[in-house]
């Protein structure tokens, strides 16, 4: 009996071993329709993007569509903006979808990318405890709000992870001429947006967040929206094709196809409607074709 069991388990293990060794199958959602799908020469495409982009769920809608249409197998690697940009620099990704404009401009200036196109934006909001000790509500600009927080030395939570959100936040502090790092009321979580919101909620602190993540988590939080609408709070997404001269393995064709897909009118429409049914208002605003200045990027 015992030997039978052992042999059985051995068989199961060997079966799984061979299964894991085989190439990953396309997912059910991304399986092409019965019509013969296009097969590009190099179907693998590595997309470096940010955790907040992935967390929003937008990619879960867009990517299967893209895969279906073009036959490209996209591997979305969700990391912090900083890491995404470095992956681009090293040629470890083919295309980037990020929202850190200053870092992106430097990226392009250094010749790491061949093309940078505006895709969409969502916005950040400043949230905080409903009691609002720093009297932030009613501030006209984000800068004013932050200044009040700094003055009153109220608790502020920063992501502190070099993500796009974090970079925007730091940019705002810099514009004030303030340097809150190291101050006891300024705390860095080093984590994603959801986690940071949680900490802020627990500790009754202020933080800057993208609207989407806030809305998704609202029912668990005791924070309210205090400041919104300032142009400086716009979070602008660009799609960047990595310079193929970096490495032979860069899938330039795939990168271009993806970028074209993102700015195509059809896709832009989908982007504009995403999340409306679930959260009441759409999470993203399509901007393809516009000038950067229009959206404060």
């Amino acid at each position: 009996m015992r030997t039978v069991l052992s042999i059985l388990s051995l068989v199961v293990i060997l079966a799984s071993l061979t299964a894991a060794c085989s190439a990953p199958q396309p997912t059910a959602a991304s399986r092409p329709p019965t019509a013969a799908p296009p097969r590009p020469a190099n179907p693998e495409l590595i997309l470096a993007t940010t955790t907040s982009t992935q967390d929003s769920g937008l990619l879960d809608v867009l990517l299967p569509l893209f895969q279906q249409r073009t036959g490209y197998q996209v591997k979305p690697i969700a990391v912090g903006s900083g890491q995404a940009m470095v992956m681009g620099e090293r040629g470890e990704a083919d295309v980037l979808l990020v929202h850190a404009p200053d870092a992106e401009k430097k990226f392009m200036a250094d010749g790491h990318g061949t093309s940078r196109q505006l895709v969409m934006h969502n916005d950040f909001i400043i949230v905080g405890p409903t009691a609002d000790p720093a009297v932030v509500k009613g501030a006209k600009t984000a800068g004013q709000a932050l200044a009040k927080i700094a003055e009153s030395r109220s608790l502020f939570l920063s992501r502190g992870d070099n993500s796009g959100t974090n970079q925007l936040e730091l940019k705002l502090w810099k514009a004030l001429g303030a340097n809150p790092k190291g101050q006891p009321w300024y705390q860095e979580t080093g984590q994603g947006m959801g986690a940071t919101l949680n900490v802020a909620s627990e500790k009754d602190g202020y933080t800057i967040t993208d609207r989407a993540t806030y809305l998704a988590n609202k029912k668990y939080l005791t924070l309210g929206i205090l400041v919104e609408g300032d142009k400086a709070l716009l979070n602008v997404y660009h799609v960047i094709q990595v310079n193929p001269q970096k490495s032979v393995s860069i899938n330039a064709a795939g990168a271009r196809a993806f970028a074209d897909f993102l700015v195509a009118p059809e896709t832009q429409k989908i982007i504009g409607q995403f999340g409306a049914d679930k959260l009441g208002s759409p999470l993203f605003f399509p901007d393809a074709g516009k000038e950067d200045e229009e959206v404060g990027g």
């Binding site: 894991a20 967390d55 984590q191 959801g194 986690a195």
Partner: protein, 232 residues
């Protein structure tokens, strides 16, 4: 507290409804960690036995390395494997990064020292005279090794459980080398982390419960085998 109750409810709903995504993620977790554990056994048990039964210069050094390896932070392993496997890395042409195979490799590196170290301890705990007796009974080298391994099967199965436990619950390396890609390299642990970071706590708890049940079921099976050989 209501979060945990919520989580339980969601877990039951997912499992009873045989949620497609849950099944896929669970099956991949099993495949990856199962394969990694199996490979680490192939490496660890012979290596551990060899170290236990043979004397050679530098033996102490090797054993210290093995023992250090048992405490290797998985995230460090993940980092090194990533650097090896990415496109411009030495093994880039294998195109293994962000595939389940890469996760198997990383998890194997994590589990192998654990299995080796525990096998070493298990074999060393055998009566040293036993080896002589088996030789005297006319056992060939392989017969003797087989009998010694069989004799030590209780602690060896514990080694298997330790190796498996170490990798099925591992996140850092799996995240880094796998990328947590939906439908390709997303496993229970990386999915849990992602849902937590998104703020979907109930779902994260549900996934954790599934993971715990999975680990329990496997260990139940292994423990059953282990305890069968015990004296009455």
């Amino acid at each position: 507290m209501d979060l945990i109750v919520d989580g339980f409810r969601q877990a039951i709903a997912l499992m009873l409804g045989l949620d497609r995504e849950l099944l896929r993620v669970t099956w991949l977790s099993l495949q990856v960690s199962g394969s990694a554990t199996f490979l680490s056994l192939l490496i660890g048990i012979p290596l551990g036995t060899f170290l236990a039964l043979n004397r050679f210069p530098g033996r102490h050094l090797v054993i210290s390395l093995v023992n250090t390896g048992m405490g290797l932070p998985p995230v460090v392993v993940g980092l090194f494997v990533t650097i090896m496997l990415w496109r411009n890395g030495p093994l880039g042409l294998l195109h293994l990064l962000y595939t389940p195979m890469a996760m198997v490799i990383a998890q194997c590196i994590i589990a192998a020292p654990i299995v080796t170290g525990l096998t070493l301890a298990a074999m060393q705990s055998l009566n040293p005279r036993l080896r002589l007796q088996l030789l005297a009974l006319g056992a060939s080298r392989w017969q003797m090794l087989w009998l010694l391994v069989r004799e030590a099967r209780l602690p060896l199965l514990a080694a298997v459980m330790a190796g498996f436990g170490g990798v099925i619950s591992e996140i850092g390396a799996s995240m880094m080398v796998g990328g947590n890609i939906l439908g390709q390299t997303r496993v229970l642990t990386t999915a849990t982390v992602m849902e937590t970071s998104k703020g979907n706590f109930a779902l994260a708890i549900a996934l954790s419960i599934v993971l715990l049940l999975l680990v329990y079921a496997i260990n139940l099976f292994l423990t059953h085998i282990q305890q069968q050989g015990r004296a009455p």
